[in-house]
């Protein structure tokens, strides 16, 4: 029997069922009975991993953290009547793609489907009509298909069963996600890979096997099922599992293309030769297969797709996406002072898109935010400027790019020199600080604050001049003269090659737009010798993916 599905959702459920059942091979599925048995076993397995709960009492002084365990399938009964609700410490696992209000229905429907599968006696029974309900098919809703009123969309028992399995399976990347301010939902990624490939491989099965292996090494541990307890107010959160059912959980608590590729990349690098599927070539093949294909981010509340470009695979495996993300977080954005400034969040989104697509449009959006970046972004810029996307038809050699970097860094250094001087002068002028010793903590902190602010202002002024230049020569003269005035010195000699290329505007080796982008990008990089940033950086990881519930609260979820 050649089982396949047009829709990626039940297709994923089928693949997950195979891998979960001791890595069954497709060749072992020959009869309708094999299919029915596979689905029954997958649903039973999933119902034993639907909800987690804790028997520890958070009000006891001796308890420092809470241990969670799965509710057994026999006891599983989400809802107010049984007391299996969030307020009483019962949480749905993050890979169960339903809502708190719908969870009871999900369980009922899963059991119904399993029972219907047990009744299958012929091939035809597998294709008997079944209605798709949102509780186990989150992509569906009642629809008006030419009838007077809306009704649930129809499917076959086969499709419904594997759709339900996709909704329940733990073999998909999932997080308890804050998708809007104050709103949370279990969210998972369903990948759109084929079950059968022309080359005789099974890409979707390979992906699920890889994910299964990742979980085996890092997720099926005690730590994942623990929740920290705030020893003062006795409040606790969901266990670590809810921050992601895969290793290298995203530090920004988001579930997107970049966090998935990053998690996989980091796992391979750390587990090479230690685990069956932690093989760089194997993973590269899968990731390249995934690139340019939709990743469906699905929850009960919303569904959308994302994609990433092939270059991200190289970044994930040869450098480190988490390090790049940290560099983004440590960027200082002009005008952003507070941690929760929406402009800061927008910058991070533009940065994520740049990593995802690595094309001219995403680069422009990223550059639109005036900021100073951590030095780790140097390699990212080098990769981008050396890519076909930036080069297009022109031939800008790697040496010119290196020279452009020297040019940009000269500007950055010049801004630093001036800012430091101005900050010192300001301190000397102020009554509050001038009499404090130079190493006084308060004075040092104030000086640092002023340095950052002034440097940002100077860099912004420089950028304005750069962007307003209307010719190659004007671009060079504006910047060189300004730097000379600021520092009394010339620009670094290493920048000569770049300046010569730009000055020869008639051979158009470097277009005006390209020159501006090169200068600005490198100018915004903090030099490698830059001092440590102070602790209060404008954007920080904020651990707001928690629901803090006190054990006394009897407020119940709907």
């Amino acid at each position: 029997m050649n089982i396949d599905f047009f829709h990626p959702y039940p297709r994923y459920g089928f693949a997950a069922a195979l891998v979960q059942d001791n890595n069954k091979q497709l060749e072992e599925i020959n009869t309708f009975q094999d299919v029915a048995d596979l689905a029954i076993s997958a649903i039973d397995y999933a119902l034993n991993r639907f909800s987690v709960f804790t028997q520890d009492d958070p009000s006891l002084e001796s308890i420092k953290s809470l241990e969670f365990d799965f509710v057994s399938a026999e006891r599983l009964d989400p809802g107010k009547k049984s007391g299996q609700i969030s307020a009483k410490g019962y949480f749905m696992a993050p890979y169960i793609l339903t809502s708190d209000g719908s969870a009871a229905n999900t369980v009922v429907e899963a059991r119904n489907l399993r029972d219907a599968l047990k009744e299958v006696k012929t091939v035809k029974d597998l294709y008997k009509p079944v209605k798709l309900k949102r509780s186990f098919a989150p992509l569906t809703a009642k629809v008006n298909n030419g009838n007077k009123s809306a009704s649930e969309p129809p499917a076959t028992l086969l499709q419904a069963a594997f759709t339900c399995i996709a909704t329940l399976t733990d073999l998909k990347p999932s997080i308890y996600l804050q998708y809007e301010k104050g709103k949370y939902s279990n969210t998972g990624i369903i990948v759109d890979l084929p079950l059968y490939d022309v080359e005789g491989t099974n890409p979707l099965l390979d992906f699920v096997r890889l994910f299964d292996d990742m979980q085996r090494t890092s997720v099926r541990t005690e730590e994942t099922m623990q929740a920290r307890l705030d020893t003062e107010n006795r409040k606790y959160r969901r266990p670590l599992l809810h921050q992601g059912n895969f290793p290298n959980r995203p530090l920004d608590y988001s579930l997107n293309a970049v966090s998935l590729v990053a998690a996989i990349g980091e796992w391979v690098k750390k587990n090479e030769d230690k685990s069956k599927y932690a093989d760089v070539d194997f993973v590269k093949t899968i990731l390249h297969h995934l690139a340019e294909r939709p990743l469906y981010i699905i929850s009960y509340e919303f569904a959308k797709q994302e994609r990433f470009s092939h270059h991200l695979v190289e970044v994930a495996l040869s450098s480190s996406i988490p390090d790049l993300q940290k560099a983004f977080y440590q960027s200082i954005i002009y005008g952003v002072e507070k941690k929760d400034d929406p402009k800061g969040r927008l910058f991070l989104r533009a940065a994520t898109h740049f990593l995802q697509f690595f094309n001219a449009a995403s680069f422009q959006n990223f550059m639109a935010f005036r900021a100073e970046y951590g030095h780790q972004l140097l390699s990212l810029f080098h990769d981008y400027f050396n890519s076909k996307e930036f080069m297009k038809d022109s031939k800008i050699s790697a040496d010119i790019i290196k020279s452009a970097r020297a040019f940009g860094q000269s500007l950055n250094r010049a801004a630093f020199v001036v800012a430091t001087k101005e900050a010192e002068e300001e301190i000397e002028r102020s009554k509050e600080y001038k009499n404090l010793p130079k190493d006084n903590e308060k004075r040092v902190k104030k000086k640092r604050e002023l340095e950052i602010r002034y440097k940002a202002r100077i860099l912004t002024e420089l950028e304005s001049r750069i962007f307003s230049a209307s010719s190659h020569l004007q671009l060079l003269s504006q910047t060189c003269v300004t730097v000379g005035r600021m520092t009394g010195k010339d620009i670094d000699a290493e920048a000569d090659l770049f300046m010569e290329e730009v000055a020869q505007s008639d051979n158009e080796k470097v277009s005006l737009g390209q020159a501006k982008n090169l200068i600005t990008a490198f100018m915004r990089l903090r030099s490698s010798k830059a001092k440590e940033l102070p602790h209060s950086t404008p954007i920080e990881y904020s651990n707001n993916a928690d629901i803090e519930m006190s054990v006394e609260e009897t407020k119940e979820d709907i």
């Binding site: 047009f6 989150p138 992509l139 629809v143 008006n144 939709p294 797709q305």
Partner: protein, 258 residues
């Protein structure tokens, strides 16, 4: 409209190539509709039949289509009842195969598809889509601002609480002339004013996946002489715009005789 092709035995002696190029992004429902519409990458054969019938101008309501088919099959069966080759064939006896939305094609016995030879590479993205829906009047009233000026007074009176609209049995039908002379506390059915509202209202926008195929779809067609002549003519000069999937997915089709 000429359905005499149906009375020919379905001998697929003619082989053609159908090439379909998308003119705008396509969204072909893949079976889990409602909250998020994922798209098929290749149209189904039912969609292709639909496209051909669109070109032919064969657009019928469900019940009329069923009646026409029954009549055709009955006539054909009478003619070929004694012919051993065709007497028990699907063409003369079977219930036609229909799609998920209960569409079935008259052509399905006399024309079959093969392919596509290759699945083209597609770009995919999400966009918003809304459905045009019809209603007996309940959804429009109080919800739509697009109504005939004649209703202005009536609606003012409803707002003042003088008259009431509803759809239960105690709400009566009135003619349009009586609308301005209604007594206080009159109860009128929505049906009475339905004609003063547009035919369709637009549903809430839903996220839907659209695809942009990078190459045309190429299918093989096996059909009878009569049908091949019909569809070649129809595709060259279609009765209605051709589309696949959602009806903003316009396509251009070519039939080539290899």
């Amino acid at each position: 409209m000429d359905f005499t092709f149906f009375f020919d035995p379905p001998v697929h002696s003619v082989h053609l190539t159908l090439e379909i190029d998308s003119l705008s992004p396509l969204s072909m429902a893949s079976g889990q509709p409602g909250n998020y519409y994922q798209s098929l990458r290749i149209p189904t054969y039912h969609m292709l039949y639909g496209m051909l019938e669109n070109a032919l101008g064969w657009h019928f309501a469900e019940d009329i289509r069923k009646d026409i088919f029954k009549a055709m099959q009955k006539t054909a069966k009478k003619k070929f009842r004694k012919d051993a080759q065709w007497a028990s064939s699907d063409w003369l006896n079977a219930i036609p195969e229909s799609s998920g939305v209960k569409y079935f094609s008259f052509l399905q016995f006399h024309l079959t598809f093969d392919g596509p030879k290759q699945e083209p590479r597609v770009n995919t993205y999400d966009d918003l889509w809304a459905q045009s829906l019809r209603d007996s009047g309940r959804s429009f009233f109080g919800g739509s601002r697009h109504y005939d000026a004649l209703l202005e007074n009536v609606i003012n009176r409803v707002r003042k609480g003088e008259i009431e609209f509803g759809d239960r049995s105690e709400f009566k039908d009135v003619s349009l002339e009586e609308l301005d002379k209604l007594p206080i506390d009159a109860k009128i059915n929505y049906r009475a004013i339905r004609s003063l509202f547009p035919q369709y209202y637009t549903s809430l926008p839903t996220i839907r996946e659209y695809i942009e195929p990078e190459e045309p779809y190429v299918f093989d067609i096996h059909t009878t002489e009569a049908v091949s002549a019909k569809i070649i003519k129809a595709i060259e000069n279609p009765e209605a715009p051709l589309y696949l999937g959602a009806n903003d997915g316009w396509v251009e089709a070519k039939i080539i005789r290899p």
